[in-house]
Amino acid sequence: MNTFDLLSMKGKNVLITGGRAMYGLGATLALADAGANIYLASHTIESAQPFIEELRETKGVQAKAIAFDLDDVASVENLVKEVIDDCGRIDSFIHCSRIIPQGGDGIGWDEDPIKLEQNVRVNSASSLYLLQLVGEQMIKQKSGSIVVFGSMMGLIGIEKHNYDGNPQMVPGAYGHAYSVDKSGLSAWVRHAASYYGQYGVRINAVCPGGLQSDRTNPLFAEKYSLHTQVGRLANGDDIKGPILLLASDASAYLTGLSIPVDGGYTCI
C-alpha cells in the first residue's frame, strides 16, 4: 500500500482530550491534516466552538466538541457514550488531558499531600478509567489505536542544573506525582498492549520533552537545549509526525511503545 494511504485518517473517527493547547493542539492539527473526523473533548462546548469552526474551514474535516471534565466520572463515561451514539466507533483515541493541581505541579519534596491525592484521583485513576472504557469499545470493534501522552519526565529524573539562575523554577520541577504518574503510564502501555493485542487493539505512548512557548524562560531554554541532541526545545510541529504515525495504520505493527519525542534529551 502507498505509504501516504497508510497515514491517511480519512473516514476515521478520532477522539482527543486536551486537544486545544500545547502538544494536544499539534496532535489535533496533525490528525485533521490527515482527514480524520475529530471529536474534541473540551471543558465547554462554547469555548471550543471557534476552534471547531477553524478545523472545519481550514482542514475541511468534520469536527465536534463534547463537554468533558476528567475530574468527573459521569463526564468521563458520557464522553465515550456521546461519540458512540454519534458515529458508532472510535478508530483512534488520543489522551492528552490532565489536570494541574491548584498552585501548579511539583513544589518540591514537600509537595502538598492534597495535590498528590488529586493527581492520583484524577490524572491517574480517571485517565485509566477513561482508557478502559475506550478499550472496551475498541475490543467490540476488534480494532483501534490508543495513544497516550506520557512524558520525558516519566523516563528520567530532573536535571537540576537546567534551573541554574532560575531558583524560583526548582520547586516546580521537584515533586512526586508527575513522575510516578507518567512512569506508571509508560509501564501500563506495555501491560495494556499485551492485553489488547489479542483483540486487534494497539496502544502506545508519546513521551515529549519541553515545549517552547511564549512563557518559556530564556535562560532555562538555553540550558535545557544543551541536553538535547538537536539543540532546542520542541516546537508545535514536532509532535505531529509521531502522533499521526501512532494513530494511523502506518503503525499497524507497533504496540506497547513509549516513544520519546524530546530531541534526544533522554538518549544521553
Partner: protein, 254 residues
C-alpha cells in the same frame, strides 16, 4: 581499600519494612537480619517474617495523616532510620474490567502510599544525611505481563493480570530516579527492585510458562531476593542510586 565483605554488613543499622504483610517481605526481612540489621515494621496487618522484630509501627499505606504520623513514630521509637523498604505496591484486585472506584481505591493504597511514605521518611533520611530507600516492585515494572504465561492457569490470570497492575509497578521505576535526585543531594539513595515471583508463590503451570521465558530457567529463590536487597541497602552499593534492578533470572533480558 576496605574489605568488600564489610561493605555488605548492615550491623548497627535499622531497617523499616513498610507493609510487611505483602509478598517478598519475609525474604527481605531475613536477608536484612542476616546481614546484621535491626528490623522494624510499619503496617496494619500481622506478618510472620521469621525474624526478630524490634518494633511494629502502625501505618496505613495511602493515608495522608498516617504518613505524617509515621515520621513522628520513627523519630520517637526508632531514633534513627537507615533503610526503608517501601513494599506497599502489591495489589490483589482481580481482572481487567474494573469500576472507577476500584481503580481509585487501588491507586490510592499503592501509588499515593508510595509517594506519601517516601516523602515522609525521606525527610528523616535527609536530616540525618544518610539512608537507603528501596522500592519493591515486580517484573511488570519493566516489561508487560505476558498473557501467554497464563494460558494454562486462567485462575491466576484473574488475580495477577489486573487492570492497574502494570501502572502501579511501573510507577516505581522513574520515581526511583526522581526521588533519588533530592535524596542524593542530602546524602541518601533511592533504588527500586523488579522481582520475579518466588518459588512456591505460583502454580506449576505458571512456573513452567514463566521460566520458559527467563534465562536462568527457574523462579526466584528467597536468597535471590535477600541478596539484592542487602546489596542495595548496604554500603556495597554506595554509588548506585536511581536504578531499577531486575532480579528475574534474565526474564527481561531476552
Amino acid at each position: 581499600m576496605t574489605n568488600i565483605l564489610d561493605r555488605f554488613s548492615l550491623a548497627g543499622k535499622k531497617a523499616l519494612i513498610v507493609c510487611p504483610e505483602n509478598p517478598y517481605s519475609r525474604e527481605i526481612a531475613q536477608g536484612l537480619a542476616a546481614a546484621g540489621a535491626e528490623i522494624w515494621t510499619a503496617g496494619n496487618a500481622d506478618a510472620d517474617l521469621g525474624v526478630t522484630v524490634a518494633g511494629k509501627l502502625t501505618y496505613t499505606h495511602g493515608d495522608t495523616e498516617s504518613a505524617a504520623n509515621l515520621a513522628n513514630e520513627v523519630r520517637a521509637k526508632m531514633g534513627t532510620l537507615d533503610i526503608v523498604i517501601e513494599n506497599g505496591l502489591y495489589t490483589p484486585v482481580k481482572g481487567w474490567k474494573q469500576t472507577y472506584n476500584e481503580i481509585y481505591d487501588q491507586l490510592s493504597k499503592t501509588e499515593l502510599g508510595l509517594m506519601l511514605t517516601v516523602q515522609s521518611l525521606g525527610r528523616i533520611l535527609a536530616e540525618q544525611g544518610h539512608g537507603s530507600v528501596i522500592l519493591v516492585a515486580d517484573y511488570g515494572a519493566l516489561v508487560g505481563y505476558d498473557p501467554v504465561n497464563y494460558q494454562n492457569c486462567p485462575g491466576e490470570k484473574d488475580t495477577d493480570f489486573s487492570f492497574v497492575k502494570g501502572f502501579i509497578s511501573g510507577g516505581a521505576v522513574n520515581y526511583a530516579r526522581q526521588a533519588s535526585n533530592y535524596l542524593a543531594e542530602n546524602g541518601c539513595r533511592c533504588n527500586a527492585v523488579a522481582f520475579a515471583p518466588v518459588e512456591g508463590s505460583c502454580s506449576e503451570e505458571f512456573r513452567t510458562a514463566f521460566t520458559r521465558h527467563n534465562q536462568a530457567k527457574r523462579l526466584a529463590k528467597a536468597d535471590d531476593i535477600a541478596a539484592a536487597v542487602v546489596f542495595l541497602a548496604s554500603d556495597a552499593s554506595e554509588f548506585i542510586t536511581g536504578i531499577t534492578m531486575p532480579v528475574d533470572g534474565g526474564y527481561i533480558a531476552k
